[in-house]
Symmetry: C3
Subunit: 664 residues, 3 copies
């Protein structure tokens, strides 16, 4: 398998390069990503290309047997280009033009920028497209990151209008689909339509959702422009990828991935200003998204954190063990190549405090040794591990459009789309049930249960799949505020939960938005929930069961005694509805019952322990920094792939330990 580093030869004197390559070889590195911010070096003035620096670096690396992934450098248009065409710069929602001086300073809607993109990508592709040791290409870098997903300038506005005309054909269609009769917003000319710049109140939610779709499509088409230029000039052996960020920005990774061979992902469980890493389940969910984006295909971690990170603020220092832990977690969940960010911390620039395998002094120390231990531990079994099958038992719905719709209208000050999504993902992670991230393009066949948390923007295609799935015996779990919105971001005219009414066997005739700090109470009244209590936060759907049975009720306020959680037989299957945000204990109990009834295997472990089984492989990671853990292994004899020790029965894990076992 490929394990490598992100390397910036341009940031170091060439006299240092041989030492860097020697240390990389010693470490066991077999791939390096290069050049993704090197536009100025490759085209120092308009039209004159000069690849000599990277040629020399690539020669040195490949002569030592290290393969290369090249990044196209379009995330950093050079100063000469911005000087000539300042109209390339993006514009914020107040109309402020963003300055040159950092990165991602272009609007993807600039036709001029697309021309310059074509030229540099084509030149690069021609130069390196047949190089036998260049194995792949990364387009640009982290599309949409740092609020670069939305731009509000004049050219963006025109492109939005064109996109809308293509989508709707007629203004009547647009007006009807946006409900512009509200507040006299009816458009009588395409050119009247604004991008959502500052208003005194709030924009039309249908416009906002279409603007997000437009921004995402613009990036998809921009990426396709790059992949077209590349494919026209490179060898079929070279793959194409992009290093995605999954943070609800206006990017559609699923669409874009259709033009790519691989998904890549930049895995930073902790970043500048964060006092501790995000939760194990939050990291795991991102890996599920990566794997799900190309329907289960293995992906690259193109940037895997190796030291403390941050720009002007540095975050939590990863502890000894974290490098291995997060690497093992990534591979467990589907990564098939790991590239550590970055080889060495830079002496200059905005990312000075993005620490790497080496720190500023360039001397191998603890982190270098840890990475070496990881690479060594994977030498024998790494290839088999990544080739083994990840078999999910449950599916968790994630649709980027649903996230956008929530962000446009969070409806409660306590609501965070990511937090509520993770609330419903975490029990499965805690119970070590292997999950997939699915959306309307996915097949639901084979899953024991499908979770559809906060299914606000109802997708008719997916709803239809859910119905078929449940009718045929599947288990479906919905949460509060599902079935509310139509694809054009209208509220449904049906009684809630709208299209899900029959499946869930309930109606919802009232609901309450709870603000930060507010709560109701819930009592379990049936099955494993009996006797359990939980706070109810964020949102309360007041459920009127029609055919469903009640599992839990509210215990306070005028709706005390009203159903809060229900279970309904639908066809041969079962459909749950969770009407409020429950605490982890009750929610985990509920999900455990759901899994067990659905026949999904649950592996109960201590808090913060993660276990993933892939065919003969079982990986175990203890995310706790201070508690050791014991795991009751499933039946069989195992060997520890790193030590070749035999293990049976109980596996002991020190804090932050991660282990790969193989069943004999």
């Amino acid at each position: 398998m490929y394990i490598g580093v992100d390397y910036y030869p341009e940031q170091w004197p060439e006299t240092r390069w041989p030492e860097d390559v020697r240390l990389m070889k010693e470490l066991g590195v077999n791939v390096v990503r290069l050049a993704e911010f090197g536009w100025q070096l490759m085209e120092p003035e308009e039209g004159r290309c000069d690849f000599s620096l990277y040629d020399r670096a690539i020669k040195l690396l490949t002569e030592s047997g290290i393969k290369v992934v090249l990044g196209t450098p379009t995330a950093t248009p050079p100063a000469w280009l911005i000087q000539k065409h300042p109209e390339i710069l993006p514009t914020d929602e107040n109309g402020v033009q963003i300055s040159f001086g950092a990165r991602r300073h272009y609007t993807v809607n600039s036709r001029i920028f697309r021309e310059y993109t074509k030229k540099i990508v084509t030149e690069m592709a021609k130069h390196y497209g047949q190089h036998p040791d260049v194995i792949g290409w990364q387009t640009d870098n982290e599309y949409g990151h740092e609020k670069s997903d939305r731009s509000y300038g004049e050219e963006d506005r025109k492109a939005f209008q064109t996109w809308l005309e293509k989508k709707y054909g007629t203004l009547d269609q647009l007006n009807e689909n946006w409900g512009t009769v509200f507040w006299s917003q009816t458009y009588t000319d395409w050119s009247q339509i604004p991008v959502p710049r500052k208003v005194l109140q709030e924009h039309n939610p249908s416009l906002l959702l279409d603007f997000d779709r437009f921004c995402a499509d613009a990036y998809t088409s921009y990426n396709k422009l790059q992949t077209d230029c590349l494919r026209a000039n490179i060898s079929k052996d070279q793959f194409l990828t992009h290093n995605f960020v999954y943070t609800d920005q206006a990017i559609n990774q699923w669409d874009m991935a259709e033009d790519l061979d691989y998904v890549s992902y930049d895995n930073y469980p902790v970043w500048g200003g964060l006092a501790e890493p995000v939760s194990p389940s939050a990291i795991a969910h991102q890996h599920d998204l990566c794997r799900g984006t190309k329907n289960g295909k293995g992906y690259w971690v193109m940037e895997e954190l190796s030291g403390a990170q941050g720009w002007s603020k540095i975050g939590y220092l990863p502890r000894p063990g974290h490098i291995k832990l997060w690497t093992y977690q990534a591979i467990s969940r589907g990564a098939e190549a790991i590239v550590y960010f970055r080889w060495r911390a830079a002496h200059f620039g905005t990312e000075e405090f993005c620490h790497g395998i080496l720190d500023h002094d360039g001397i191998p120390k603890r982190k270098y040794n840890e990475v070496k231990e990881v690479i060594d531990s994977l030498k024998e079994h790494g290839d088999d591990w990544i080739a083994s099958k990840y078999e999910a038992q449950a599916a968790v719905y994630y649709d980027t459009e649903n996230a956008w719709a929530w962000n446009i209208q969070p409806q409660s000050s306590a609501f965070s789309h990511r937090q509520e999504l993770l609330r419903h993902y975490t029990p499965a992670h805690k119970l070590n049930v292997a999950t997939d991230a699915v959306n309307s393009r996915s097949s639901l066949e084979g899953y024991k249960a499908v979770f559809v948390p906060i299914y606000f923007l109802e997708n008719p295609v997916f709803t239809e799949k859910l119905k078929r799935y449940a009718e045929n015996g599947g288990t479906v779990v919905f949460s509060y505020r599902s079935g509310v919105k139509k694809p054009n971001n209208f509220v449904t005219g049906q009684t809630l939960p709208g299209e899900l009414t029959e499946m869930t066997g309930i109606t919802i005739n009232e609901y309450e938005s709870l603000q930060t700090g507010q709560q109701n109470k819930v009592n379990g009244v049936k099955g494993s929930l009996s006797g359990l209590e939980s706070a109810a936060t964020v949102w309360c759907d007041l459920i009127d069961p029609v055919t469903a049975e009640v599992l839990a009720e509210y215990d306070d306020c005028f709706y005390k005694g009203t159903a809060a959680v229900t279970k309904n037989k639908y066809g041969k299957g079962t459909v749950y509805y969770i009407g409020t945000a429950l605490e982890e204990t009750m929610l985990t109990a509920l999900y455990k019952e759901i899994f067990q009834e659905a026949g999904a295997e649950v592996i109960e472990t201590e808090k913060e322990v993660e276990v993933v089984r892939r065919e003969k492989f079982l990986s175990a990671m203890n995310h706790s920094v201070d508690h050791p853990a014991e795991i009751a292994l499933p039946e069989g004899n195992y060997i520890d792939c790193a030590t070749n020790e035999k293990i049976k029965g109980t596996l002991k894990l020190a804090p932050l330990a991660s282990v790969l076992l193989k069943k004999e």
Copy 2:
């Protein structure tokens, strides 16, 4: 009496209209407000008017006996108009031009916009001005709401300069009245004067106060332009109103109301993002302002909340009982017509989550039934109730210019004008003393006591009235920080409390601004305050009594022992001065003593219970969601107007219950 709904026929298929009208009739609705955002429908392109949609809707409604109030649609200039004249759009204090895409996107100073306003209002007036079932008109909608009160563009600046020239005549006058000698701000040409756009420090407070006055005047003249167009074309039987918001914005409701027949008000005790309703006294105070704006005349609640409200964030769900409670409270305090907002929640647009009597599914449920109960309960006695006289025993000063002056210079991080105003209003509300909101235009005759809280911007006309009132035996109560400012927003050169010195019998030679979290202590030393203690927050005036007696003293800091609350004989009357923000308990004790000495009737009730007496009618509202209450009724036999039950002695009120009694 009129009870109705806000209806947007344009937002629903015409095929639904008959069902809506049928349900309205069943409910007992006799009036509907229409069309206030319908410009685009009425003038789909420049100069072409088409009233057919509203004609059809009005026909259907009026054929069922429902009357109509029409809104002029100027709060939502259509896209075609903004496309042709983008200079109509307002500008924020950073110079950012506000975008089309929401509402209130015009500056009232745009001469072009005034021309377009004239045209559409005149056309509408001609079309509906003689319609026998159109009973009145609402101009525009919520002037100044959502920061639309101030605009900082080039045309606003010119209008401000013209307004100043008219006000001051000469630059010398302006320079003297603004103190421009400070920081070399002397203007030598009218065109030099800025609107208060972003500066590195803070603007001249006299400029800021005049800018607020200018903004308010601009809206008043804009409204007059509308009322002139209307009156020239409509029947004398049709009334004119505007639905005000009372939130210290730069609008002068008192000036504007002179051009209107009625005041209207939009009553939302809770809104998006709020975890609970504002306090009962806060709602009551707004009603006092409505009634006071036209000197006691009954007013319309043009939008009365009927469900949970909010744009992208939804607020607290009104409990069963709240609709009746807030309706009864409104009528008790002077509303003579109630229009519920809104008939049905919209499927689209920014206000999707403004819930109405019907929710998105259009099916009558709990809220429909509650409104029906309210309407039914008012059938027999509603007309008599609104015709009965509201007789205030006490007056509370409120002057919008005083509020502006406070907002310009809050002087303490702990100071909120609204909070301090309510601090001094709440005891009267709690003691069920009927209050009026008065200002310098009001007569003080007949009041037992007059409260003048935080009388920062001293108004010479009102001060003179207060002197006459006290001399003749009246009781006046001032609070901290009174008498500080002259009408041109200069600090007085007299020793504090300036013009109030003789009345109060004190001087103030030092004071301290307390910041959020800071406090001193106060001990009561006389009368009903003896033995009581309170925290002193926000502000401490160190009072030197001259002729006044001391009721309470500070108990901490270098001014321990200094007077904090005083009482002075002035003429035949009594004048109190409260030098610091006291806690509710001590303040209520003080006000109770004041009321009792002044001969005002106090009705002591449990917390959150409100009682209003109007001639033979006594209404009682229990604002508590969980505590029942008992009220000792004033002597006499009563009947419950809803049930015809006889009641005497004690009235029991369930949580959120509201009752109308009539004395036999």
Copy 3:
């Protein structure tokens, strides 16, 4: 000595002037500062100068024996000038042009503004330059205050480019020194270089530091333009000064002071919105900076707070005693003249609530009497006191460029440059060790110890001085995060602490940024630290001692047992390294040991008591508002300079008392 007031005759009717002058004389005032915001009065229209108002005021004052310091009025360009040349206005980082309407509304890079400055300053210098009672000049007012230090307009950008060209000569030099190879920022034309306007991420830290240097240089050259105009026209007997603010803004007081005769300082220990004064050591440190700016020369307090201050928000009311306390503290630490701000509170303008010796009513009261007491107390010994020598035993490093570098990259959300600086200054202040503020220009001779806290931006000249100093027997104390940055704001390529490695006898191979609320623990293991514990916050350097001995260790996390505080012999001297932010108790114990070993005299007093010895004078100030204190006096007989009482042994101080003793 000079003791006076800031007087604005233009803000009062001339009929009041004689009374003001009479009261000043009665108070004992012998100097007045005038005219610093009077441009419009002195040049009411372009080219026409009229000094008559100030002529009359000066005549009245000087006839009473009061001397005058004149301010040049350039902080407030008049309306006519801005009307003619709006391009003078500064621009914020979003490109918003700042409006006329307050003060400091010019960019120092405007060539046009520099022309107008020349004219008015020259005219004023010609008019008053030979006046026998005008003793000095203040240029402008508080350069850089209120974010006026940085402007981001087109003319600023051109000036920045010119400054860079002068600094670097070639673009290659600039590109290399900024590391522009990072993110393709290489500049190929000077005109491409931006000022740091809004970007989507963060600017290059080397650009940011140079931008701060450029802004500071621009102000220095602007000030020199003023001093050149003045010196060309005034008598040699008149001094030049500027009233500095020391708040890390982009101003280099040390550079600027080279063109001035005196440093002045505006001493406001409390300001608008502050609930209490800043700490005694924070005030003391500012005085050290003032004295240090011209290498120990006495300075003027040009504005000494005399009442509660603030613009729209008023701060804490200085208690009886504070005026004397802060005056005595100022003189103790080097002020040789005190000018109270302000004579009387204005009735108008932004500074209405800047209270003075007189309040708005103009009647002498408590504050007047307190100032009188201060002036009287200084009559006999004041001149001797200010002539006595302040002999610092310890030096504390402060470099404004270091502060800028920290502000550009604080590295932890818990890091505030000022707070960490004061953390290391406070122990010396608490132990009453006389300190100097030093930087790379200073000589270190004679100091018992030199503290170099948070020496992030390592200055090679100063490092070299430290080495020589330590080699020759001096004691040096470094803190966490020292030696990290090169002058061009690159991170050093050496192992940390870089150039300090040999001196400190340690290396630092790992470190952790702690965020707000996070902490580790430290145990003392040697010397006076043995047995002491402290929280470790903000930052943890993991120290590997080479030749150093360990004084304290971390007690938590994976680096438990790692050195946190070390001590190293270097040459004949001793070098300490403090690797984390310790609590005051442990840090004071450590510093006490350091002082005692270094032979510096420590005077231990109760909390908040400050003692300063200058030759025969010993001043003692009790900053506590509620605790009396006792001080064990150094041997000898003293007289109290105010009362002539004899004192020996123990000095008793009431809360807020301040006393000047003279040793017999």
